[in-house]
Amino acid sequence: MHSSWWLTALLLLPLAGVLGVSLTRSRPERARRVALVSVGVEFALSVVVALLYNAHVAQASTWDFGVRWVVSAPLGLAYDVALDGISLALVLLSTLVALVAMLSDRAPRREPAYLAWQLLALDFTVGAFVAHDLLLFFIFFELVLVPSYFMVAQWGGPSARRAAMKFFLYTFVGSAPALVAVIYLGFLHQHEVGGNLSFNYSALSSTVMTSSQAVWIFVGLALAFAIKAPLWPLHSWSPSTYGEAPVAAGAQLAATLSKLGTYGLLRFALALTPLAVKSVTPVVLVLSVIAIVYGSLVAATSRDLRRLAVFSSVAQMGFITLGIFSGSQIGVTGAVVLMVVHGITTLGLFVLIGALERRRGSARLDDVRGLQGAVPVLSGFVTVVAFATIGVPGLGGFVGEFLILLGAFGVHPAYAAVATLGTVGAAVYWLWAYQRAFHGPLSENATGMADASPTERALLWPVVALVVALGVVPAPLLSRVAPSVQQIVAHVTPTGVSR
Amino acid sequence: MNALADPLLSGGVTWAVLLIVLIKVVLAFAVVMIAVMLMVWFERKAISDMQSRIGPQRWGPFGILQTLADGIKLFFKEDIIPAEADRVVFKAAPYLVLIPALVTFSIIPVGGTVTIAGHTVQLQVANPPVGILVMLAMSGLSVYGVMLAGWSSGSKYPLLSSVRASAQMISYEAVLGMTIVTVAMASGSLTTRDIVDAQARGVWHWNLVHLGVVPFVIFLIAITAESNRPPFDVVEAESELVGGYNTEYSSIRFALFFLAEFMNTVTASAMIVTLFLGGPAGWAPHVAYLRWIFPILWFIGKTTALAFTYVWFRGALPRLRYDQVMELGWKRLIPLSLGWLLIVAGFMVKIAYGFAMAAAVIFAGTLLSRAFEIGAQRGPDAVLSPVGDRPVSEENIREYFDDEDDSETPRGEK
């Protein structure tokens, strides 16, 4: 590890963008330009960081770019950032999503405030991913709520305010016990080693605790993460929120916000409480499997793309948790891959939702027939993205799900089997429905629909390309993620199964 | 200073002691009653003289039994209780006036000490360690009688009168207290016996002289006002308030008020004598077995002189207006007595402190008088600026005076 200002720059850049946007208050177009530039630079920066990653560190450590600066010793507050493979993947995802989302959202009247919130959301998400300190992560994790709330509440659909409130409260309630768990863990550590309160990740991960303490801490943390993800029984805020969110916000929220939950589960809830794993794994696995089956089925029966995005997310989150808790390195790696892929596909879905809503006023597909004839390119994009979400081989989703199932089969075959069946069933159902909407004669209400515009194509092609690329050559991603994953798995299950 | 101020009780309570106490009580009661009777007569006579009249003369020598005759007459008159009256309070009020006056007398040393059956007996009913505070407490309580008498009558004028009276009494109580503190400070004790003893060494040790004349004057004025005597008898101002708080009273209850008023005069005189004029102290010849009688005579003499002062006040001075009474109390006497207290305290510690304190008091007094002047100019306080240059429109003012009316519905929702 070596000290470096890269991550700090990554965190300051969107803030500078916010400042720039707020300085151009009266001119929306200029504000948009400023915002776009800062997001673009941010994305470029993250790519540079990705390229620089681990170029100059000993192979033993997966953490890079670390900076630690104690803000308040008695409170244990510290500015402590670092990056490992998993974070790197998600940081890249976040910046990409933000860039595309911002580009795709061309609603006529977008106040600068909206752009500022978007930038802030990006900033906080990146902050959470690069936090190398439990408390700092938690702070960013909480902070993301504020821009999300405002974006949804103020620029969303007719009942957005209510939806945003529901979303905020849901997640806020979840994070209440999490904060308690965070502090509790900090004290366990402090009482063990003395000195000031510290929430440093590396330090905390070696905390000695009893297994019941571990379970309680896990439950406290996991609750918050599970709500944010959202994991199956706690997902009920998501349909209304994503149903009402403006497209760009929806993309940003669905694609990156949910990763905060799964990332937190993997990085903190799981890795900091190895002793809890044994007792909580069955529960999480059951929930994951239920989520997969339930999410897939609901997603497959929904012709509304927003609803599809929501429930396929639920299913995918099920896969991710299944992977995380499979206890095998392959499974966890798969989970990380799936996080990235899910982010990209969700982004694609929301870009499509935006496109459809511009044309038809809504993203519903159940009242149209034979769209393939009218808007072949758009239909093609829908197909690819949808296939990716249900894990059709050759696409990114497949790699993730495959790895997860592979990992899970080795350890918990029964769960894996059910999960597989669930997806297969859903795929069948989905294909059948797809046939109705896209094949056959064109229905009247779809005539006159324009096909994808150049901008839309310019945005969607890279998405599709990425999905395909990740499906075909996942190696660059895997090679960066795997060592970090291995460290976590090794920490959680010292004698662990690794295949 | 002794914890046990009364040597009589130091040896424990025996039957003899109880008997002595009982005798003292009865004796004091009798003496007070007779004194009151004489006081009434004395006042009527003296006033008559001042006004070139003759005054009572039928009953007894020089009409000395006139009071008794009046009492008997009143006793046989019809006892009227107004329909609107609060009966219990109405009946109780006269006693509430009388009792404090009587109790106050119990702490006044009328003479030195005598030895009866081996017991040293002080010639005063009681000598509690808190001494002079009893007088303050009683003057505080005497407010009730007046106040309740007026209130319970269920009539407008008595009520007004009683409110006036009680306000006046409370105000002057503060002055009294402040002067008493000065005296207590000089004597280093609160017991009346110690106060008297401290003055026993000669006229120059009398508090009248010892403390400067000011406290004496203040006390004299204050206690006159406290007992609603002329020229501070605004509560009974016939021209304004019919007859005062006891307008509705008749028969024996009225007599009780009357009694109380004169008893207060006697007590007040005795109290001044005790506090400022050395009480029973005075020259006494060596006469075997009768040495104890001279202090008593001195006491009676001094008290009579003061009682005459009261009568003189009544005969000579016009009645003050009510607001003048209150102003005198609050704006003159209270600051003055407080200032004098501080000066005396300063001198008691060190002469230099005394002068410094005097300077400070004079400075404060100047400021105070300036403040009074300004206060008098300013008139009643106005919170808003005068209507002429008000930038707020009349409508707005309406609105914000009305803000209480729309309590339930938020304004914005209309």
Binding site: S72, L75, V146, L169, A176, V180, Y184 | F401, E404, G412
Partner: protein, 491 residues
Amino acid sequence: MTTLTLPTINYLALAPFLVMAGMALVLLIATALTPSRISTRVATSAAVAAAGSALVITIVQGWQIARHGAQLTAAHSVVMDGFSALATASISSSLIFALLIAHDWEGRERFVGAEYQMLALLATSGAVLMTEANDLAVVFLGLEILSIALYVIIAFNRRRLKSQESSLKYFLLGGFAAAVFMYGAALVYGATGTTNLTSISYFLGANVLVHPGLLWAGGGLMMLAFAFKTQAVPFHFWSPDVYEGAPTPVTGFHASIVWGGAFAAAIRVMVSGLGTQSDTWRPIIWGLIVLSTVVGALFAITQVNAKRLLAYSSVTHSGFIWLGVWAATARGVAASVFYILTYAPTVLGSFAIVALVGGVGDSDHYLVKYRGLARRNPWVGGSLALLLLSQLGVPFTVGFDGKFAVLAASLDAGNVTASVVAMLAAAVAAFAYLRWVASLFAEGDPDVAPLVVPWASRVVIASSVVIVLVFGIWPAPLTHLAQHATLYFQP
């Protein structure tokens, strides 16, 4: 004659009190000696000067304490330690804010004269006295100086009946609470033979009471009174009415200055005096915490009046501060002080805006009035949103740091359940704040003219926002200070 040896007095310890009460006297004398009424500007400047000097004095105190340690003075009835210095500093700076808010309010209501400033200074001097009181009698007197002056300024606006009614309610209940407090003090006196907190503590340290019932009863009654003053449930019922009725600048007084005094005294009595008995009183505080946070949050979400909402919100916050008291450790004390220190400017800033929106007559306090405020006055609306988010406990605001500090302290002392409950309640209360924040940004009535923000309010709002943000992101200076806010005596 017996000689009297006066105790030595360290006037530095009493200086903040003396400065404030002294300035009140000066204003009183000036009022009497000037022919025209003193202008609000002069009165405010004088009072702010006094508060500012008190603030400076606390810095000197802190310096002295750092060099020579904490000390008892005036026959051990007053103590000067880091805790009192910091609490006094918090109270003094809150007073500056409160005075500035009141300055604009007096201008709007066209009040002239220095009465308000005098009473505010006197009330604050009572709170200051409470922070450094080391004797139950002094605590009581401080409490009463604070309360009685407060009754008057709550009823200050003679044109508003609400103001007087709420003052009456507060007065009656406050008198009741004072009597209860004193009865508790009497019982503690009987149980320990002294009213001096240090002596009480020594006594309890040196003697094990076989039958501590008397002490329990006394401590319990005193705690009841503290709970009343700090708006802890179930003794909070007066607070919404008083918040609604009191003039808005006075409302700001409550959660800053009154709390400063009341919590300081509560901490000193409970931790310094009865610290050895913490096992006994902790369950009571536990109940207070759980009830305050939950009830406060539940009622806050149903309110339609901004001031009532803030009243219930402060009930919740009170529960949080009690969390720090519950811990009864150095960390807990520091956390509570930190919370008060940061909550005070937050709530004062909020009330500055509420007072502005209330307008002439100080009566428009319904939440509907706030619709679109952020669109009409972006800076004011944004500030209010930030202040509310801080009360909600969003990270990078002082609200989060404060909650974090007390939670840390209470968890450190092993109070997991109450901490979880408090956090959940805070999440529920979030609804109330959010609804308000949302309405700030909603489309408002276009006919409503933007607010005019006078300079004093501007100063208050700006500084509270700066404090909330700067110390929210970088709380180190304040936490550092709070760490030195140790009690003179802690068993």
